[in-house]
Amino acid sequence: MLKQIEGSRAMAEAIGLCRPEVICAYPITPQTHIVEGLGEMVRTGDIKNCEFINVESEFAALSVSIGASAAGARAYTATASQGLLFMAEAVYNASGLGLPIVMTLGNRAIGAPINIWNDHSDAMALCDAGWMQLFAETNQEAADLHIQAFRLAEELSMPVMVCVDGFILTHAVERIDIPTQADVDAYLPPYEPVQVLDPKDPISIGAMVGPDAFTEVRYLQHYKQTLALRLIPEYAAEFKARFGRDSGGLLRSYRVEDAELIVVAMGSVNGTIKDTIDEMRADGLPVGLVTLVAFRPFPTEALRAQLVRARDVVVIEKSLAVGMGGPLANNVDLALRNVAGAPHVHSVIAGLGGRPITCASLHRVLRRALVQPWEGAHFLDLNEEIVAKELHHVRKVRRSGPTAENLLRRLGQAAEQSAVLGASR
């Protein structure tokens, strides 16, 4: 059914349709509206037979989910940013124990400096914790991915993180098609755990595993994710057949045929990029786009197949591995490693801490990529002047104070202006 609602609400309704049995809620912007919505639906009875638990921390949120999942309940929780880091230990534990928990990550930057706005730093920080990570481009996809996530997680007995851009998606009100309970029930079978805590058949879960078997345990985890590379497209196809929409899958391509330059990106920025590409195509520029949905498992084969035909690849990502560059770009590089005549990969770091990625900026950087591609990472809309001043200042004054505050002071009035316009949010 079509609705004009907030993304968070849409996700809450989709999750509710998945018949979660235990939901752990701990507030952190921008994920909060999702669990608020779920809490309301549990109270009103729209979600039946479900325990909604207000926990005291993200660490507890995932820990309670771990217990619930191990005891055979379909468990869900949501978090973001610092919250994900605070539960990091449990994040590894859930995947290590093979518990099919689904968690929404309202992607947000990580401090310091404290910043509540959107980027992918949180997802990247724990991308190798053994969870599968699926990135939503739109709120429709965000809602749909949760339904696929439970199916995927429970089939492989491995947790899934649905990554949704904070504010940009979670707080946006738009047209979303909410599926019927009957369709979701038909698509998502009841949870049948491969192992469960049950007095009828007691087992010990969570043994200490030494050097003699640890490698094998890890290998098997890795092997499961390689299986996911086959399952994710299957489930997306099945989803389309039943719900009539393209949602999920490993990746999607847009106007890549004959494209000499292919952009690779994840999440909500893809929409803006598509508009930009249309305009460039109108000017006859051979540009295409590959939208990555699955970051873990990383669809190396599928991505290579898309990229080899291009001359250059521009990876636009909302994260920075300080001292290394763009983690996504790095992963894309790996996908093209040892490929004869592989395209050159150019990295763009954009939208950190919520800075808007505008069509104008995209035009600038992509057009430049066509004529004079760069090596290393390009920081979109970086305020060179302020950076230069600060560097100069730091060189002069040893105790030059906190960089973030210094920069804000220099931005002065302009900062306030653009802040109000939402231009730097």
Binding site: V194, I203, A207, V209, L220
Partner: protein, 541 residues
């Protein structure tokens, strides 16, 4: 169900890990000798019969008891119970009232008319027992149960010896004594009364006895030379007490003085009181703490109004009065005369200065050794004359009923072995279960039950039994105060507190076993065993 590899395990799989290999010393179950058993002159297995009494199985308790001592009802009244003195519980609160439980069992047996099992088979041997006192009755009982034909030849008109002629009614009612004697006779022991033996060897030949056990006791009151006026009334305690069994009671007058400090002196004084003496005074040359009499008897006497005159000797007796010299103890604790004299009004004087043995029956028997008026015997209780054994007061030893009963049992075993041409070797004694082997924490605080006493007024005027018995509740309670020193009583501590579940419970009465596959040898079981029935021994490495 197929579990995920390694992180998930099937229950109980650790049984494959035999931690017994960690052990450097191993626990073992042991049985140690309880102090009560060790102290009993009659060699009773006290703890064992208490064990049965605790569970309310009084008959088994009684049968276990009488396997060693045929006179529990008597013992429960007259024994000075060294077992209670030795009892470990005395160091926790108060000793277990073993004696009172013994009396309870004895009385219960009489009430129910329990009888001894007859001998399994007749040996065809004949044994003569001279004297029907505790020692003789005990020997006769044991010998009979071993299958020998036994005849008791008693000089007196009744069986019981000192139990009858030495111990007053108020301490040992005669019907109790008679019942326990009769039960022995019912085994087929022949008792001949008024059959004084004057020539033992001849008597043996005449009766074709293969062996003899002499237990004639010590019935001759010691006399001390005291200048006495013609009309002075002087008699000895043994005679006094014996005469109590006769028809007419002795006339002692209103004021009676008893001379001596032993239990007999006390008995004499208390008897005098009951015979109507307004004053019964015990004169003793030393102080109370040096008195041979048992303190509780002194207490009872004082309670009954008996007066004591310490540090005094009697120098002369006249009609109605006697002269006493004050004494004082020298640094060695011996009484020395002071030269101070005083007169004491007295209608009669009873001498309680100990007893001598009438050895006339041994005249002309070769090879006997007599010393200090007693017959010398070997470790097997045999006198210098082959085939003649002796015990009780007539041999050197403490003169108590219990010791005598013990002699009877010991002699019987040796006589039995000798008759079979064998030598009796007593079983090896276990290590003593001293208090340091126990973990007293586990025992409840449970003070001893006090036996009821007849009120004083009646004690002064009648010969009713002074000390009452316990009812079943009290007896059970008292029995259950036993610590079971040195022997497992299945409290389940070891089974319960083993951190490695390495103790196997075998079920009621079967105790426990160690599972050395898993026992790490921590020693908790030994440390926490209440009764010291577990020992740690080093493993050979």
């Amino acid at each position: 169900m197929e579990h995920p590899f390694a992180i998930t395990l099937d229950v109980g799989s650790s049984l494959a890990n035999q931690t017994g290999s960690w052990r450097t010393s191993r626990p073992v179950y042991v049985d140690r000798l309880p102090p009560c058993n060790n102290a009993c002159p009659a060699g009773e297995n006290i703890q064992s019969w208490l064990y049965h009494a605790e569970s309310g199985d009084y008959e088994t308790a009684w049968r276990t008891l009488t396997a060693d001592n045929p006179l529990p009802a008597v013992m429960g009244r007259v024994c000075y119970h060294p077992c209670e003195t030795a009892c470990n519980r005395a160091q926790i609160d108060e000793a277990v009232g073993i004696n009172s439980v013994e009396r309870f069992l004895g009385d219960t047996a009489i009430r129910h008319g329990w009888r001894f099992a007859p001998p399994a088979a007749e040996s065809g041997k004949r044994v003569l027992v001279v004297g029907a006192g505790p020692s003789g009755l005990s020997a006769a009982y044991h010998l009979r149960r071993m299958g020998h034909a036994v005849e008791i030849h008693e000089a007196g008109p009744f069986a019981g010896g000192m139990m009858r002629f030495g111990i007053p009614k108020y301490r040992l009612p005669r019907e109790v004594l008679d019942a326990e004697v009769q039960r022995i006779l019912d085994l087929g022991v022949v008792l001949k009364l008024n059959a004084k033996v004057d020539r033992i060897v001849e008597r043996m030949q005449a009766g074709r006895f293969d062996a003899a056990f002499l237990a004639v006791g010590a019935h001759i009151g010691k006399r001390a030379y005291i200048p006495a006026g013609s009309a002075a009334k002087v008699l000895d305690a043994v005679a006094l007490l014996r005469s109590m069994e006769g028809e007419e009671k002795p006339l002692l007058g209103r004021r009676v003085v008893v001379y001596g400090g032993g239990n007999t002196a006390i008995d004499a004084a208390r008897t005098a009181k009951r015979l109507g003496a307004t004053e019964a005074i015990i004169v003793y040359r030393r102080t109370r703490d040096r008195m041979p009499a048992h303190d509780f008897e002194v207490e009872e006497a004082l309670a009954e109004g008996i007066m004591m005159k310490w540090l005094s000797t009697i120098k002369r007796v006249d009609e109605g009065a006697l002269t006493v010299e004050k004494m004082q103890l020298d640094d060695k604790g011996f009484p020395q005369p002071t030269g101070e004299f005083e007169t004491l009004a007295a209608d009669s004087l009873v001498l309680a200065l100990g007893q001598d043995v009438d050895l006339s029956l041994l005249d002309g028997v070769p090879g006997l050794a007599i010393k200090d008026g007693t017959v010398q015997v070997g470790p097997n209780m045999m006198t210098g004359y082959t085939g003649i054994f002796a015990g009780g007061d007539m041999v050197p030893s403490e003169r108590t009923v219990t010791v005598a009963v013990g002699h009877g049992k010991k002699a019987a075993r040796h006589i039995d072995a000798w008759l079979r041409g064998a030598v009796y070797a007593p079983a090896e004694k276990h290590e003593l279960a001293s208090i340091d082997k126990l973990n007293a924490w586990y025992y409840a605080d449970a003070p001893k039950t006090v036996r009821p006493m007849l009120e004083v007024a009646r004690r002064q005027s009648t010969f009713e039994e002074v000390q009452g018995g316990l009812d079943e509740t009290n007896a059970l309670y008292e029995a259950r105060r036993c610590l079971s020193c040195g022997n497992c009583f299945e409290c389940d501590n070891c089974y319960g507190i083993c951190p490695d579940n390495a103790v196997i419970k075998l079920g009621p009465g079967k105790r426990f076993a160690f599972n050395y596959d898993y026992c790490k040898g921590c020693g908790l079981c030994a440390q926490e065993c209440p009764c010291g029935a577990i020992a740690m021994v080093a493993e050979e490495i």
